[in-house]
Every structure is written in structure tokens, then in C-alpha cells.
């Protein structure tokens, strides 16, 4: 057994002084990490490196889902040491993306890493000679096989990403996804902008479809760093917005899946239903995606009893039509036939690659931040995780439907049992003073999965490092695995069933 007493433990949305994160040598670090991550209740939340003086400090946050703790581990690579580390990926595959990222940004060579390729061709990457067009694709030399390249420019108005299929006739043997076309250097921008309002706006634009998720994570990180305690109502409002975002996007996804199988009836009705929800968001916040709703230290747009009446009205109308359409769509043989047993990711695979959120729950893995690391709102109004079994497109399709229902009943529960008090309106505070030399972490279960923001301050209380992790970072791998031995014409429905973020990955 490993000695866990040495390891710093914090809860979600808390900060800790950097001094309290023990720096251990890499051998011990690897040993502990491997031991920890072999247990199914732990998973790696974030693993990153940053320049501390001239040295490179590594921090790993491991989520202990059973005990609701976040374990923090750290090791240091001195500037005079050789930039080489033994790879942990060969033991714990889920770490592959983090090691690739560190390799790309700092030129650390992870020995025996099976797939040490660039992640996103960041502007501040170590090896500037390598351009995005030089990406080393995996290829198989064979007479029978052919390659199909899709993107980065797509026919529809979607984000850029390149997909390279190796096919045998209509069957896909291997899919490799190359991203990075959307890189904006957003983590760097968080450090460049000193004003918290500017950072707040940046957070809203990390991924347009997860505006609430990312902004909540950002606000909670900054509040944790400033040691600011927010009123209960603010937490409930944020969770409410989060659930509404989940309902809206899941409905949109169901609609889009219907479009992709040419079931226009379902596509239109679910599309109309999504509008009802995002129009409520506009009614509340003035923006259909809830931008400007969540602010550091408070909000300009508190939820009121009048909004409650409106929301309950919108939801009951929504629910009636939604249930009617669900009854038709999910029982339609041609729809079932199209989605069943396509793009299966087994629970073992899903666990190995470390999927999070919906992509984990589709394969029986109960991984949900609302349950494992709840903030105030979900402690007061608990949420129960639901999972699907098969891990195929239909499982994801079904899970979206179930999560919508679950979110609606959660919202109803809040509406019935919580009275919104108009006198409790904390205004945003952009002048929050951050604690010096501290580390803070915030986890949010956005509609796609866990969003993790980490921030580190220097001695003067200025942001020194800001690390964003979108759930897509892990889940793109699940899409690659889904396509194994699946017809190439089934790629669009697989892609849509995950609906992963390009810009959330590219940052």
C-alpha cells in the first residue's frame, strides 16, 4: 500500500498553498500514480507542467470519486537535468494525452510513450520547426487498403478537424483524429489579461457550446483562490444554468442525430424543443447560451420567483412534447436499426482511455462530478447518476434522453424546495484579491463531462499558470475506438453522438 498521508488532499473548489503540495522524486511519483490510478474509483483530472523559476514543476490532480477528495501530487525537473522522463502511459493509458501535451509544450521526452505526437501545435510549443502539416500520421502500406482524409475544412459550418481513415473497402480499420486547427492560445490569454472581467469573457468563449460549464469552472477557481464564499443562491443559480444548458444541448444533439439518419420529423421537432429552452436562457440572461450570466463573485442577473413561474411553464410545455416525440422516435424500427450496435466502446476500453462524462456513462462507468465532487447545489439537491449499458450509438442516444428527464426532475425539485430571495444579490467583484503562491482547482460536470480548471498564483498573488481541461481531451479517443471495424458511412452518426468540442480541445 502507498502512504497517502504525505499527499495533499483538497475538496472541489478549494485552494491550497503551493508549499503544502509535497514535491516528491519522479520514481516515487510514478509509483504512487500507478498505484492510485489502477483503482477504478480514481481518475486523473489534470496533469500539467509549468515553469517555476528555471525548473519545471509538474502537478497532477487525481480525483478520488469515493471519498470526494482531490489528491495533489507534484514532482520537479531541474533545469540542469536531462528533459527525459519514464512514460507513465504504458501503465496507465489514460495519461497519454497529458504526457503528449507536456511533451509538446516543454519538449520533455517521455520514454516508451506509445504515441508521442503533437496535440494541438500550440504557439508556445517547444519544437517550432514542426508545422501542423507535418503531423506524423499512422499509416499502413498495403495494396488492399486505402486512406480517406476528411477535413480540416468541412462541408457543414462546423469547426475544423482532420480525420484520417484507413479503410478496407467500406470498413474502417483505423481512425486518427488530428486537431489543433482552432488553437487560440487561450490559456496564455488568461495570464495576459489582468482584469477578471476580461478573463470571465474569455472563459465564456473557451467552447461556445459549454459557455456555462467553463465559466462556472473559471468563476469557482478564482473564488477559491480569493477565498471568497458565495451565497447559496448563486450556487443554485449556476447549477440551474448548467442543467438548462445540458437539456438544450442534449435536445439539439438528439435532433442532429435524427438529421444525420434522415429522420426529418424527429430532427425538426427536437430542434424546435431546443429553441424553447435556449429562449428561456435568453429571457433570463439576454443571451441564448447564457453568456453574461455567470460572473466572478456574484451576478447581475439573479434568478427570481417570476423567472421560476416562467421556467416551470416552459418546462411543462417542453416535457409534454418531448415525451410524445421520444415515444415515437425511440421506438421507430428504422431509427433503432440505424443506431443499434454501431460504434461500441466496451467498459474496459472506456476505462482504459479515461473517458469522462457522457462518454463514460454510456459504458456503465458511473463517473459524474455532480455525485463524486459535488458543490453546494448538488449537496443540497443530490443528483443520481444514470448509465447506459452497451456503449454504442444507441446507448449515447438513449442516455441523452434520460439525462434530459433527470435534469428536468432535478430542476423541478429545486423549484419546489427553494425560494429565491431577491434581496440576496451579490454583484460581481472583479477586484478579488488572490492568495499568493496558491493552487486552486474547480471541477464542473458540464453537459459533455467534467470540465477542470486549475490556477496557480505567484508570490504577488498574480496568476502564474492557468490550465483548462475540456472533457473532449479524453473523449476524442473514444470516437477513434468507436470507429474500429465500423462502416465509414457510420462515422457521422458516431461523431454526432459524442458531439465533442474542437475548440475545447485546441484551446
Amino acid at each position: 500500500m502507498i502512504d497517502l498521508n504525505k499527499i495533499a488532499k483538497i475538496k472541489n473548489n478549494e485552494s491550497i498553498s503551493l508549499k503544502d503540495i509535497a514535491i516528491i522524486d519522479y520514481e516515487e511519483f510514478s509509483h504512487i500514480v500507478i498505484e492510485l490510478l489502477k483503482q477504478p474509483e480514481n481518475h486523473c483530472l489534470s496533469y500539467f507542467a509549468y515553469k517555476s523559476n528555471d525548473n519545471l514543476q509538474f502537478i497532477m490532480a487525481v480525483g478520488d470519486d469515493k471519498n470526494h477528495n482531490i489528491l495533489l501530487l507534484s514532482h520537479l525537473l531541474k533545469s540542469d537535468e536531462k528533459p527525459e522522463l519514464e512514460s507513465l502511459t504504458k501503465e496507465i493509458f489514460a495519461l497519454h494525452i497529458f504526457e503528449r501535451e507536456i511533451h509538446e509544450n516543454f519538449g520533455i521526452n517521455f520514454i516508451e510513450h506509445p504515441w508521442l505526437k503533437p496535440v494541438r501545435f500550440a504557439n508556445n510549443r517547444a519544437n517550432k520547426e514542426m508545422q501542423i502539416n507535418d503531423y506524423p500520421f499512422y499509416s499502413i502500406k498495403s495494396e488492399e487498403l486505402h486512406e480517406v482524409g476528411v477535413g480540416p475544412i468541412h462541408a457543414g459550418v462546423i469547426e475544423p478537424g482532420h480525420f484520417r481513415f484507413i479503410c478496407n473497402g467500406e470498413n474502417v480499420l483505423h481512425l486518427e483524429i488530428q486537431l489543433g486547427w482552432q488553437h487560440r492560445g487561450i490559456e496564455k490569454l488568461f495570464l495576459d489579461k489582468e482584469n477578471n472581467l476580461q478573463r470571465n469573457l474569455l472563459a465564456e468563449n473557451i467552447a461556445g457550446d459549454t459557455a456555462i460549464g467553463h465559466t462556472t469552472a473559471f468563476a469557482q477557481t478564482i473564488e477559491a483562490l480569493a477565498g471568497k464564499q458565495l451565497g447559496k443562491q448563486r450556487h443554485i443559480e449556476r447549477a440551474l444554468a448548467l442543467e438548462l444548458e445540458r437539456i438544450a444541448i442534449h435536445t439539439g444533439d438528439i435532433s442532429a442525430l435524427c438529421t444525420d439518419i434522415a429522420y426529418h420529423f424527429g430532427s425538426n421537432v427536437f430542434g424546435i424543443l431546443r429553441t424553447a429552452i435556449i429562449n428561456f436562457m435568453q429571457f433570463w440572461s439576454g443571451n441564448r447560451f447564457g453568456k453574461s450570466l455567470i460572473r466572478v463573485g456574484g451576478t447581475h442577473l439573479p434568478f427570481t420567483e417570476e423567472l421560476k413561474v416562467e421556467l416551470l411553464d416552459v418546462l411543462s410545455k417542453y416535457e409534454k412534447q418531448f415525451e410524445e416525440m421520444v415515444y415515437i422516435t425511440f421506438r421507430l424500427p428504422s431509427v433503432q436499426n440505424r443506431f443499434d450496435f454501431i460504434g461500441i466502446v466496451s467498459p474496459e476500453q472506456a476505462r482504459t482511455i479515461g473517458t469522462v462524462g457522457l462518454s463514460a456513462r454510456m459504458s456503465q462507468i458511473e463517473r459524474d462530478i455532480r455525485v463524486s465532487h459535488p458543490n453546494f447545489a448538488y449537496q443540497e439537491f443530490p443528483y443520481e447518476t444514470i448509465t447506459a449499458e452497451r456503449g454504442d450509438v444507441f446507448a449515447r442516444f438513449l442516455l441523452k434522453k434520460k439525462e434530459i428527464r433527470k435534469s428536468i426532475s432535478w430542476i423541478r425539485n429545486v423549484m419546489e424546495n427553494y425560494n429565491f430571495d431577491a434581496s440576496q444579490n451579490e454583484k460581481p467583484d472583479y477586484q478579488l484579491k488572490l492568495k499568493p503562491s496558491s493552487f486552486a482547482i474547480s471541477l464542473v460536470e458540464a453537459w459533455r463531462g467534467e470540465v477542470c480548471h486549475c490556477a496557480i498564483t505567484d508570490e504577488a498573488g498574480k496568476l502564474k499558470h492557468y490550465k483548462i481541461k475540456d472533457p473532449s481531451m479524453h473523449n476524442w479517443k473514444a470516437l477513434e475506438l468507436s470507429l474500429r471495424n465500423v462502416e465509414i458511412s457510420d462515422f457521422p452518426i458516431n461523431n454526432k453522438s459524442y458531439n465533442l468540442s474542437y475548440c475545447g480541445h485546441d484551446l
Binding site: 444525420d260 434522415a262 420529423f265
Partner: protein, 304 residues
């Protein structure tokens, strides 16, 4: 002559009706019935752009395709009136005329050298090959039933009287509607509205066509629909009716056919790509049923 005029006329609004039906069912605002027509007029005003990797085949294909469909339309009779062209065994000629146009489109798609278009061409070739037996078994069974082998005589001698001949016509109409859908790359085999290249069949083959060429391809699609609609109408129109009644019924049938296509496409998801061949072979199987029935009717098989 009258048949050709009717086909040309109904082709103008056929696709418009399908689109209107689908919009209506989806609770959307309907576009004008002549929207496809104005799209084509717009395309005619534009110039075509040719990729530098393409050869003469790519330029010739749309014209050959269009003319093959147009000539095929000449063979369709109407009620008691003979089509402009008619000879012994002309339905074989008709089928392969359409096939020539399609063949040129397929090699033109390969001519572009695009990975997507090759994929689409491959699928289109497979489905065309599979749908061919269905058409011939169907035409064969009607030929057997009426003892004739030209379009004109097939239909003028088709008298639906007994219960067995009803079963033949029901099966034939069913198969014919779906053959029309496969031939025109509609649902459930192909989705003309999709924007996803990887799932396209026909649409991906014409990705590189533009302007004038694309307009011809669109018109050929309308014509094909109208041709199949005419064949259907011929099943049901009786020679004994007056010409005005015949024309009236003809348009009713064309419109009904378009609405049926719209409905079929609205309430169903498309097939999984790998199930398409199986599904198309099913059409041949139904055609075989009507063939066996025809054998019984023609006393080639005696039932005790």
C-alpha cells in the same frame, strides 16, 4: 407525343411537391412548388468550373446522362397512345439507356480522382446492379401476363380483372415505387438532403459538377421521376376512358406519387449502408412473387 408533353410538364413540379410535402409534415414553411425550377434557372445562368484533373469524360457525362433520360422518356406510352418510339422489346432498350447515362456519371465521378466521389461511384454502381433484376423480373412478369414485349402493348393489353392480377399490380406498383426511389437516389437508400459526404451515394458523385452541368443533372432527376410516375399511371389508366379523363387521372397519379415519396421520406430513417443491398434484393424477391403469379395466370404453372 402527348406522353412526352405530359412527362415534361409533370417533371416541372414533381420534386417541388416532394419538398412541399416534407416541409408540411415537418411543420416548416413550404417553399414554392417551383423552387427547384428557379434553382435550375439560376444554375443555367452560371458558368461551370472544371477541375484540372478531369478529362473529357467529366464534361461529357452530364450531357450524355441528360440525353439518355430524355430519349428514354420517348418510349413511354400514354393510355392508348403510342410513345414517340416503340418497337419489339423496347423496355430492354429503355433500361439500358438509363444505365448508359448512369455508367457515364459513375466513370465521370471516378475521373475527378476524389476519394469521396470514388466511394459514391462504387456504391451507386452496386445499387444499380442490384436493382436491375427487380426491374426486369417485373417487366418480364407483365410481359408474360399480357403476352407482349413492348411498352405500348404491355400496357394497352393489361387488364386488371381477376384477383390474381390485382395481386400482380399491387406488387408491381410497390416494387416500381421503390425502384424509382433507388434509381433516383432517394430515401431509404440515399438521403438527398444530407451534407455528410461519407454517407452520400448520388450526391457525392456530383460534388464537382457546377453550373450548366449540375442543372442538367437536376433536370434528368426530375425527368426520371416523371418517367416512373408515367409508368405507374399506365398501370392504372384504362384505354376506354376519354382522353381528358386520362389526362386528369394521370396528373392525380403523378401528384399522389410525389406525395407518397414525400411521406415515405418523412417518417422513416434511412437504411444502414450495409443493409442497402439486402433491402434492394428484397425488391427483386417481391418481383419474383409477381412473376410466379403471372405464370399461374398464364397457365404456365397449373395449380391443383
Amino acid at each position: 407525343m402527348i406522353s412526352l408533353l405530359l412527362i415534361l410538364l409533370s417533371s416541372l413540379f414533381f420534386v417541388g411537391i416532394i419538398i412541399q410535402t416534407k416541409a408540411k409534415i415537418a411543420a416548416r414553411k413550404m417553399p414554392s412548388i417551383f423552387q427547384p425550377l428557379s434553382d435550375v434557372i439560376r444554375l443555367f445562368k452560371k458558368g461551370a468550373i472544371y477541375s484540372s484533373t478531369t478529362s473529357i469524360i467529366f464534361r461529357a457525362a452530364p450531357i450524355v446522362y441528360f440525353s439518355s433520360v430524355l430519349i428514354a422518356a420517348l418510349f413511354i406510352p400514354f393510355g392508348g397512345n403510342v410513345g414517340l418510339l416503340s418497337f419489339y422489346g423496347d423496355f430492354v432498350f429503355f433500361a439500358y439507356l438509363l444505365a448508359i447515362g448512369k455508367f457515364l456519371m459513375i466513370i465521370a465521378a471516378m475521373d475527378t480522382g476524389s476519394g469521396f466521389e470514388g466511394m459514391g461511384a462504387n456504391r451507386e454502381a452496386l445499387y444499380s446492379m442490384l436493382v436491375e433484376p427487380a426491374f426486369f423480373i417485373l417487366a418480364g412478369s407483365i410481359a408474360l401476363f399480357t403476352n407482349n414485349v413492348s411498352f405500348q402493348e404491355l400496357f394497352s393489353n393489361l387488364h386488371i380483372v381477376s384477383s390474381l392480377s390485382y395481386s400482380i399490380s399491387v406488387a408491381s406498383i410497390y416494387v416500381l415505387i421503390y425502384i424509382a426511389l433507388v434509381e433516383n437516389s432517394r430515401m431509404p437508400v440515399d438521403d438527398p438532403k444530407t451534407h455528410l459526404e461519407l454517407t452520400m451515394v448520388h450526391e457525392v458523385m456530383v460534388l464537382d459538377n457546377s453550373g450548366f452541368d449540375l442543372a442538367l443533372i437536376h433536370i434528368a432527376t426530375w425527368l426520371k421521376f416523371a418517367i416512373y410516375g408515367s409508368i405507374l399511371a399506365n398501370f392504372l389508366i384504362k384505354n376506354t376512358w376519354s382522353i381528358y379523363e386520362q389526362i386528369g387521372v394521370y396528373f392525380v397519379i403523378q401528384i399522389a406519387f410525389a406525395i407518397i415519396v414525400g411521406i415515405l421520406e418523412s417518417f422513416k430513417a434511412r437504411n444502414k449502408m450495409s443493409k442497402n443491398p439486402q433491402w434492394i434484393i428484397m425488391l427483386s424477391a417481391i418481383a419474383v412473387v409477381s412473376f410466379l403469379t403471372a405464370l399461374i395466370v398464364a397457365h404456365k404453372i397449373i395449380l391443383n
